[in-house]
């Protein structure tokens, strides 16, 4: 059985214009999601291939968000296939844990400890470690926001969740990071 060739030179030109400019960002995102340079390389290569084959689905709206969405989705499917143990997905948590992670609590109030208001004093290594250990759904929004510097709307598009969820995940993810870094002292 032979695979029909559907891509042509125009598709290649479109790929060069749409996906290639974001390759370095793609690599960073992949490395933060996968945690290792060699996995990131595999993910970026597979993302590029997927982007090329799907270049006709690019809607000429936001090339950067479109490209990073492919990288994000490829990373998660790649991890699920090759490193299932490293991927703590949202679905592996119990409903109560999910609720806990997504929201503060039933009353929408939280208790603040004095440590939480002290300025953060952590070195790069500690911050790196804390971020790397964050559950994937929080890590990805923080990486997209701080490292790829995307706005809420683009993050929502890339992660395929509503903006409200992006906001609560960012807020909760940052609190988890702070708690983590606070515990270390």
């Amino acid at each position: 059985m032979s695979v029909p060739i559907v891509q042509n030179e125009d598709d290649r030109a479109a790929f060069d214009e749409v996906f290639l400019p974001h390759l370095h960002e793609a690599y960073r995102l992949a490395q933060w999601l996968a945690g290792s340079p060699s996995d990131a390389e595999d993910i970026v290569q597979e993302s590029a291939l997927r982007a090329f084959r799907g270049i006709k689905t690019f809607g000429a709206v936001n090339a950067r968000a479109w490209s990073l969405a492919i990288v994000r989705n490829t990373a998660f499917s790649w991890l699920a296939k090759n490193k299932p143990k490293t991927l703590v997905s949202m679905n592996d948590l119990s409903p109560a844990e999910q609720r806990d992670l997504e929201r503060e609590g039933p009353r929408g109030e939280r208790v603040e400890t004095p440590e939480e208001t002290a300025l953060l004093k952590a070195n790069a290594e500690e911050v790196h470690k804390a971020l790397a250990q964050l559950p994937a759904q929080f890590r990805e929004v923080i990486v997209l926001r701080e490292i790829n510097q995307m706005n809420y709307r683009d993050i929502a598009e890339i992660t395929n969740v509503p903006i409200g969820t992006v906001m609560s995940r960012l807020s909760r993810g940052r609190q988890l990071l702070m708690a983590h870094l606070g515990d270390r002292r």
Partner: protein
Amino acid sequence: MIASIRDSDELQLNAYCDGELDPVSATEFERRLANDERLKARHDRLMSLRQAVRSLPQPEMPARLEGLIRKKLDAELPSNVTILRRRNWSFQSLAAAALFGAIISSSAMMMIAQYGQRENVASEVVSGHIRGLLAPQPFDIASSDRHTVKPWFTARLPESPQVPDLAAQGFALLGGRVDVIGHDPVATILYKHAAHTVSLTTLRPGQSVPEQTIAGYNVRSWSDKNFTYVAVSDLPSADLASFERAFAAAAPAPEIR
């Protein structure tokens, strides 16, 4: 000391630090920050966390990766076939092509030069749009009332366009700003369509700007006898086309200037 901070405060604080609050809410929030020490402490801590994450050393992509990807994609193209076919070209047709090439090249150069100019206009218009989106608000004058925006332009520019409100057609008037294209100040009218902003820049009439995508933004242009209009947005081109129809239908009559 134990204090409780409301959940919505936490979200607002995050949105404020991320620059995602609208100007009015941001000002309100700043007022609260100034009067609430505890909130201010949380703000400072959040900003120090953001700074710490942002300044993490970032992994650099190995240079060979791009080459690897290009090679992989080349393998997907039916390029071998093309190369064989090219070899079959006779010298005669090559010579003819060269001669033809020489004849058309002078006019081609002119076309390329013109094309370059039009590209420039389009990219300057897109730059204006992007600058507008990055600013706290994309307009110099905020008003959904065309009777406010139009006189504002008239007071600043030699030629000012019609400013129809197209809210009924799904494009609500946001306001206007003055962009500088080339060295000329020109009027740009802002419209909002759902969460998308459309910048409509008005240039001297008789220019042709091809439909294109620059930096992810769609550019669409049309002319009437008063202006050449260039619309820029992240909307799909089909939506920009319906914007053109709505605008052209609403602003047909030349106004006495």
